[in-house]
């Protein structure tokens, strides 16, 4: 300890800014720089994964095979999902956590800054390795993002690379999660008790534990795929005494909490933004915390609802049906809370608020279809159809992605010191909100009418809704270029209007970050703040 203290002493009293040049971004240990890296990388991957979705929607625009081979189509559905989940949504939330958690709890930086840098660069390595499989002999993985054996074992040269990239992404996520959890437990300003933390911090604390618990399970599962393929084991091969369904249990034990990894921080951001623009405290702070924790707990005991048709025993079918239905209760508590927060407020509708409201409405729709498919006998019809595709896209795109947009608009002025162009922001919102429904709502009809998912061509009675869905997809895809423009424009000066420290009316009552100057200095809270805002409670 003495040595450390002495070493620190050497550097005292010169508040150095960022390193110069490109090296700043490679070696940085500053939570704001790393947050920026995560967010920029996530945005880039959002466009990569989005391009893949455009290829999918182009092929599905009309019946018949027009543009791509079926095998490549399958690679696209697989890679679209993997890139969006592991390259875009998860890193974007880690980026927000990096930027905001220290500022929200009054800490100078993350608890483990060097590991923070490493977890970002491992993410880049993992995603690049995954992307490189597109150029390999035999093509990228084409067995779906769930990587079910035996199909995935038919992958060509790409399989070991895909498995190793999952390992890298897993290590990166675990390190990120450990960092966030230790920051929250150890670095809070005096007076910032757990039950005074902003909800974004709470939801990330819980998400961090989810990640630490599930990523090793997934890594183990894909390693078993690797040994089945190359080392003559037969974990998933019935001919050698194994069981292909075992993989599905392992995968979904990871996979179900994984989808909550993408939605819990979303809840946190929504609970942060809505009170500010309703000019009211969040209706039920503690019930929101308990609801988040309940959802996280339930996520571990419901996984086989993804597997109702694999031939579970009847007791299993019923157990997983009942436990899944329970999730509706804490989720309902959340939706009612947001509604009650808006009730009798004094609302204004700037872009972050618009995206947040759209999130509440459209996420609720995704949640209601989720409730429908929790009923096992109904899932025997819905399973693996476009009804499912519509459901999970409603809970991911107009939920997680919309909230990420909301967060971008909400905090960009704080990060850059510039105001974004509100008019273009609202245009972006309306284009996105309308087109996302043209894109995904018809998919409910397609699924109910009998169209299976993951097919490159379909019977002609599905043609009309597919064309409408594709048109919605193209508009939605193109609209996101507006967001890219707004981000670049804001960084370069935006409207030119000088933003205040609070940016939004009375925001300082809701979070510590608004007590800091805009743009935020490179180092903040070198000494902890003394006043803790409790308006959000």
């Amino acid at each position: 300890m003495a040595a450390v203290a002495e070493h620190d002493h050497d550097h005292e009293h010169h508040d150095h800014g960022p390193a110069k040049g490109i090296l700043r971004w490679i070696v940085t240990t500053n939570h704001k720089d790393i947050g920026t890296l995560y967010l920029v990388f996530a945005l880039a991957m959002f466009f990569v994964g989005g391009s893949m979705a455009m290829i999918i929607r182009a092929e599905l625009f009309e019946p018949g095979m027009q543009f791509v081979e079926p095998q490549f189509f399958n690679s696209m559905t697989t890679m679209h999902a993997l890139v969006m989940v592991f390259g875009a949504v998860m890193p974007a939330f880690v980026g927000l956590a990096n930027w905001m958690i220290p500022m929200m709890i009054g800490a100078p930086d993350m608890a483990l800054p060097r590991m923070n840098n490493m977890s970002f660069w491992l993410l880049v390595a993992g995603v690049l390795m995954l992307a490189s499989t597109l150029f390999m002999e035999g093509g990228a993985p084409a067995g779906g993002w769930t990587l079910y054996p035996p199909l995935v074992l038919q992958t060509g040269a790409a399989l070991p690379f895909a498995v190793f990239s999952v390992h890298l992404l897993g290590i990166s996520s675990i390190m990120g999660a450990i960092n966030i959890v230790s920051t929250i437990f150890n670095m809070r300003a005096p007076g910032m008790t757990l039950m005074k933390m902003p909800l974004f911090v709470w939801t990330w604390l819980i998400t961090g534990f989810l990640l630490i618990a599930i990523m090793p399970v997934f890594a183990g599962g894909v390693t078993m795929l690797l040994t089945d393929k190359f080392f003559n084991t037969s974990f998933f091969d019935a001919a050698g005494g194994g069981d292909p369904v075992l993989y599905q249990h392992i995968f979904w034990f990871f996979g179900h909490p994984e989808v909550y990894v993408m939605i819990l921080p979303t809840f946190g951001v929504a609970s942060t933004i809505i009170p500010v623009f309703a000019r009211k405290p969040l209706f039920g702070y503690s019930s929101m915390v308990y609801a988040t924790a309940s959802i996280a707990f339930l996520s571990f005991i419901v996984w086989a609802h993804h597997m109702f048709t694999v031939g579970l025993p009847i007791a299993g079918e019923l157990y997983f049906m009942y436990s899944t239905m329970l999730i509706a209760i804490p989720t309902g508590v959340k939706v009612f809370n947001w509604t009650a927060t808006m009730w009798k407020g004094s609302m204004t509708f700037e872009t972050p608020m618009l995206f947040s409201i759209a999130f509440v409405v459209l996420f609720t729709m995704g949640g209601l279809t989720g409730l429908m498919m929790s009923l096992a006998p109904l899932d025997f019809q819905y399973h693996d159809t476009y009804f499912i595709v519509a459901h999970f896209h409603y809970t991911l795109v107009p939920a997680s992605v919309f909230i990420l947009m909301a967060a971008g608009y909400y905090w960009l002025p704080k990060w850059t010191g510039h105001m974004y162009n509100e008019k273009i922001g609202q245009l972006h919102f309306w284009l996105s909100a309308i087109s996302v429904n043209i894109l995904f709502f018809p998919q409910h009809f397609l699924g109910l009418a009998g169209m299976p998912r993951r097919i490159p061509d379909y019977a002609v009675q599905f043609a009309d809704w597919n064309m409408i869905s594709s048109i919605g997809g193209f508009i939605f895809g193109a609209s996101q270029l507006l967001f890219l423009y707004i981000v670049i424009d804001t960084i370069r000066g935006g409207t030119g209007e000088k933003v205040t420290d609070e940016v939004w009316e009375d925001a300082a009552k809701h979070g510590l970050e608004w007590t800091l100057p805009s743009p935020v200095p490179y180092h903040t809270f070198a000494t902890p703040p003394t006043l803790i805002p409790t308006e959000h409670i």
Binding site: P63, G64, P70, N74, E137, G138, G139, A142, G143, P150, L151, Q154, G156, N232, P244, R279, K280, L282, Y285, T309, V310, G311, I314, E317, L318, M325, A328, V333, T339, A340, T341, M342, W343, K344, G345, S346, M347, F349, I357, T364, L368, T369, L375, P377, L378, Q381, H383, D384, T385, F445, L448, A449, G450, P452, R453, R454, D457, Y458, A459, V460
Partner: protein, 502 residues
Amino acid sequence: MKKTKRLFACLTLMAFSLSTAHADYTLNLMKGSTKISNDVYDLHMLILWICVFIGAAVFGVMFYSMYHHRKSRGHKAEQFHENTTVEIIWTVIPTLILIAMAIPATKTMLELDDVKDAQMSIKVTGWQWKWEYDYLDKGIHFFSSLDDASNQVRQVGSGIDPRSVPNYLLNVDKPLVVPVKTKIRFLFTAADVIHSWWVPELGWKKDAIPGFINEAWTSVDKPGTYRGQCTELCGKDHAFMPIVVVAKEQADYDAWVQKTKDEMAQGSDLSDQKQDDLVAKGAAIYVKNCASCHLPGGEGVPGAFPAITKSSVVTGDINVQANLILNGKGMMPAFGKMLNAVELAQVITYTRNALGNAVGDEIQPKAIKVLLPEGSGTIASAKEPVKAETVDASVKLSLDELVAKGEAVYTTNCAGCHQEDGAGLAGTFPAITASAVAKGDMTKQIDLVMKGKGMMPGFATTLNAVDFAAVVTYTRNALGNKVGDFIQPAEIQSLLAKAPKD
């Protein structure tokens, strides 16, 4: 107030269109033609309405609030929060709704699961990319794959309008025929990867998993044709393995059973055909059974599916090729099960004399028939290994004699993978030339050849002792290797005696 009214009108309209839409097939679940599918439909409608009601209530409150409680209308924010009564209410009410949903769902689930007292059983096996049906108590057995018309249209860039084909992608060559008002038990399994068998009008889907048997049942109410698809991603042609179930009245069904049995008993005409005829007829069989992997032009997909054009298998020994096609290898299924002797002779001859190959030879249906176990096209398992013939293992042979004999054995049994010159195929099949195994300890090599490893089959039951000794000696003293040692058939015989039989 006007806006809320309009919203309400809009919602009513949407709800109305939903309730009348099932007739035109494109908006809602089908009612179907079984009791189960009707129960599932009713449950679906019940839950859908509950969800629409909850959604309308929540969104109604939200939109009311967004309209009235806005700053631009001068609404002052109230600062209330936390209200235990309200929070208890909005926890308890959803719980009650959930219990109300769980009761009918449990009832339907139990019904769906009850496969007892079935009157007949059909075994369904998923293959990449077709379905195999076995009528377990009738001895009827056939494969069912995408119809030719759809198959032509669905090729990339075919330029043919899918609307010109009736039931595009939902039609098969041989549908599954079942009697109405009969409780039928289905047994599901798969030969390669996981598939899932779904006919929406029967009300359920069930996964077909290799190595496992799943059960489900149905009892169709009305005669008719019911169409469905594979719903578990199973590789490149997942979209192209539809399911068609034709339900017939008992009398019609009985007639169909009789007719199918007669056709099967008759068998096909095995008389010799001219090479040109074989090639001409083989083309269609190739397109239907081989082209989806090896491609219509035979060029294959590098890294995934080997080319037919200039392939060492297709241009090599015809019996080796025939054996490979009959028994399958790796991802390639055993076609001895799916095609009859005539079709096999045609497609084999076709591959050797078309697609850029011009070997010039042919194989006749009779020759295939010899290779096929009893009852081609309907056999239960084609993978029975060919039994080693009994030979006199006491002969003593010289190194040169063994090498000479071994060359023929190698060509027939090993060259298909390790190649004629022993160079193997990088990444897939190891080379024999300079291989550590072929140049190392001979007992280890013999052990490997007997038991097999990974993709390589064990040859303990397929080679006799003389051939075995000859081929091992050959690999060690030819193909670029010069170890100089050899082994006598008698020693192999004693090792074979010790080796476990399967």
